[in-house]
């Protein structure tokens, strides 16, 4: 039960982070938080025969691989726009689009 509460708290923090932060890296950390909250729940509720834990290790490694891809995307985005701030990126995109239309 303790771990379920912990996982709910982590989920709440993650969602809160998603709502309030516009910095891409913080958004990413919030998403990871939500993912880990879910996995934590699985770990605690799994039957303790070792097999479920082994399957969870697979889930973790897939999660890590996904994180690597997301981080790579973050690098590309900050390279392209020179900032990691979502609102700035969006406004930059819009100005670029209107420039395209003028051309």
């Amino acid at each position: 039960m303790d771990f379920t509460i912990l996982s709910i708290i982590m989920l709440a923090i993650g969602i809160y982070g998603l709502l309030t932060n516009r910095q891409l890296l913080k958004v990413f950390i919030s998403i990871e938080m939500i993912a880990i909250a879910a996995t934590l729940n699985f770990v605690m509720l799994a039957s303790p025969n070792g097999l479920s834990q082994a399957l969870l290790i697979i889930a973790f490694s897939v999660d890590t691989a996904v994180s690597a891809v997301i981080l790579a995307l973050l690098v590309i985005v900050s390279k392209r726009y020179g900032t990691g701030d979502l609102s700035k990126i969006i406004s930059k995109q819009e100005t670029e689009e209107s420039e395209d239309e003028v051309q």
């Binding site: 309030t20 910095q23 097999l51 020179g82």
Partner: protein
């Protein structure tokens, strides 16, 4: 039996595996890649067709072959992988496989010379494989995985031209809107698993049967899960109130639109509902309980969507937009038919009518999209106001389009006449006031359908050649694009008459073909076609300007139609509200824990610690890290990083070795503790 099992597995495994070979082959030869895709589609079609004989001669019961998904979990584990062969799933699988072949051939002409075709064909095969996997899945978990894959593939294919911002945006819109339904479906699966302890369809059917016999059927939970399933189907099949994504999805290449509308994606919702109606039909008591709210809700959703779709198709100026709204409207018909399926605890003709209409819709809508693709290809625009007088330049498309609009409007003896007729009959048999309103709505829609078909046809093919057209060298579509259209046109004509065969295939008793002509609905339907026909005739051929003048003014009706009943505005408002909330939260957070503590708020000193902590952890390190990543990404920095690579590489290697040694030490320590 061996063949059946083999085909049922490989009909979806082959395209899924083959999709990974597309990039490999595409690297060496583009021609080989194209032939490879066509060959795979042919094999898939052959495998799907080989499933028919077993079902045809069978008694209509389902056969299932299951394997343990994770063998080490033991045989009692509820997680299995399997195929479920019954008339419904085989019909869907054959339709998808057939369209896979049609679309891969059509793509050879339509997508010729585009960039990124390897990605296109890879996703196409993945799309087809996951859709066939969805309809043949033996349990809900497997179905859900394929359901998600279908959503993912349609998202990526809709944003295929990723350099256009609109196409990226509509892809994201499709993904997010269908997500709402995915979550509902997942909840429904969870509820059913909670009740019966199994994911498999057969297990659920057995569970419902046993509970009904024992009298322990939890009607409340079952009805809840039925509503959640309906939510999933509504989002996936673009029904009221989540239908706006289908119009945005028109940014996709036309070949993909044809596949999306005819066989995959939007049909997944219809499959889901018809499958679950069959499962629920195990217990008459359950069907009776569902008849109170669930079935009428489906009919309402269907009737309203059918009407909204048809009325919007009349005003849109986008050629593909007309077809998109037409699909929304036709799927509304299917939903209405499914909703009218239950009669006193049993499944009636409405169910058969929807499935039948699903297939005829696939044929005429697919035909419409293939022709529209040719027209867009030739003219380079989707705006119907720039078209006109195409009948001389594209005579074959002109002829095929006549078949398409006649079928869409549901005139005899084309396919939709019979299928729509069954749906209208079964809806009109609902003996309530609601049923009466729904029938009126559906009949109005049938009349509107005729109206928008004539409008589209006239704007594109009739009249004088437009200025836009004269500037371009307009030519008939190449043969490779016309051949698939010919096949579909032929099927549009034949399919309606094959109703007894389909009924036999589905093991369903129907009133037969002749009943469509003798029923009361037939003369009403024909009479209703006269007003839209006359209006269109006078507006487009006799210079009657009444309707045009109404459309020009700003009366409530035109405003409503121009804004698509304000659904997109509503969703934008919801999204904006969410952003407002998040901004307000950020402001509160900044006021309480921000770098500059707001003195007016009189924050207790205890919270300053939090501020300082957050200051150091988040603001300093995380933001710095973010900036550093941004810095590292700058070209000159990246170059420098590259130059330093050797020394860094050694550091990484050292760190990896150190980590490995640590892990080994840990293992030894734990083993030591255990021993």
């Amino acid at each position: 039996m061996m063949l059946q099992e083999f085909s049922a597995w490989f009909v979806w495994i082959i395209p899924l595996i083959a999709s990974f070979f597309v990039p490999l082959i595409g690297k060496y030869s583009e021609k080989a890649r194209n032939y490879f895709v066509i060959a795979i589609a042919t094999v898939v079609s052959a495998l799907a067709i080989s499933l028919i004989p077993g079902v045809w001669s069978g008694g209509g019961q389902a056969t299932a072959y299951t394997l343990s998904w994770i063998p080490s979990l033991g045989s009692s584990s509820p997680i299995t992988a399997g195929v479920y062969i019954d008339p419904l799933s085989v019909l869907f699988a054959c339709l998808v496989a057939f369209f896979a072949l049609i679309i891969t051939i059509y793509s050879q002409g339509y997508m010729k010379g585009e960039d990124g075709l390897t990605r296109y064909y890879y996703l196409l095969l993945l799309f087809i494989g996951s859709m066939i996997g969805l309809v043949l899945a033996d349990n809900m978990l497997q179905m859900f995985i394929f359901w998600e894959m279908v959503g993912l593939c349609s998202y990526t294919l809709i944003s295929f031209w990723y350099k256009k911002p609109e196409s990226i945006r509509s892809g994201v819109k499709v993904f997010i809107m269908t997500r709402i339904g995915d979550i509902m479906l997942l909840a429904a699966i969870g509820l059913l698993f909670y009740m019966f302890g199994t994911f498999s369809f057969r297990g659920t059917i057995a569970g419902i049967e046993a509970a009904a016999l024992a009298g322990t059927l939890d009607i409340g939970l079952l009805v809840t899960s039925a509503f959640l399933v309906l939510g999933g189907a509504v989002a996936k099949s673009a029904q009221f109130p989540l239908f706006t994504w289908l119009y945005s999805a028109m940014e996709a290449p036309t070949s993909i639109s044809a596949l999306l509308h005819a066989a995959t994606m939007v049909k997944a919702g219809i499959y889901l509902l018809s499958r679950f109606i069959l499962i629920f039909a195990t217990a008459p008591a359950l069907i009776l309980a569902l008849q109170a709210y669930w079935f009428p809700t489906i009919t309402w959703i269907g009737a309203i969507t059918a009407f909204i779709g048809a009325s919007l198709a009349i005003v849109t100026t986008d050629l593909k937009g007309v077809l998109a709204y037409s699909t929304i409207s036709q799927i509304g018909f299917m939903m209405a038919g499914l909703g009218a399926a239950a009669h006193g605890g049993f499944i009636g003709e409405g169910w058969f009518g929807s499935i039948f209409h699903m297939v005829s819709h696939a044929f005429f809508e697919g035909l419409g999209f293939l022709l529209a693709g040719g027209i867009i290809h030739a003219l380079g625009t989707r705006d119907m106001r720039l078209m006109g007088g195409l009948r001389k330049a594209m005579p074959i498309s002109f002829g095929l389009m006549i078949i398409m609009i006649l079928t869409t409007s549901g005139l005899p003896p084309f396919a939709a006449f019979f299928s729509k007729g069954i749906i209208l009959t079964s809806v009109s048999e609902i003996a309530t006031t609601a049923g009466l309103i729904q029938t009126v709505l559906l009949f109005t829609t049938a009349a509107l359908t005729f109206g928008y078909c004539i409008r589209m046809f006239t704007l594109v093919f009739m009249g004088k050649e437009s200025e836009h057209m004269q500037k371009q060298h307009v030519h008939e579509s190449p043969k490779i694009m016309l051949a698939p259209a010919f096949i579909l046109a032929a099927l549009c004509i034949v399919w309606g008459l094959s109703e007894p065969l389909v009924a036999h295939f589905l093991h369903f008793e129907t009133a037969g073909i002749l009943a469509a002509f003798t029923s009361l609905e037939f003369p009403i339907f024909l009479l209703l076609l006269i007003p839209p026909g006359l209006l269109a005739y006078f507006s487009y051929y006799k210079g009657f300007n009444g309707l045009r003048n109404i459309a020009k003014t700003n009366n409530p009706l035109t405003i409503l139609l121009r804004h698509g009943y304000f659904f997109d505005d509503l969703y934008t408002a919801i999204a904006k509200g969410l952003i407002k909330i998040s901004e307000a939260l950020t402001r509160i957070e900044n006021a309480l824990f921000g770098r500059y503590v707001n003195r007016n708020l009189k924050v207790p000193p205890a919270l300053h610690v939090v501020t300082r902590l957050e200051d150091t952890v988040f603001e300093r390190y995380v933001d710095e890290l973010g900036e550093k990543i941004g810095d590292a990404a700058k070209p000159d920095r990246a170059l420098k990083l590259k130059q330093d690579r050797t020394s860094n590489y050694r550091n990484y290697l050292a760190a990896a070795v150190l980590g490995f040694i640590l892990i080994v030490i840990l293992i030894i320590l734990t083993l030591g503790v255990v021993v």
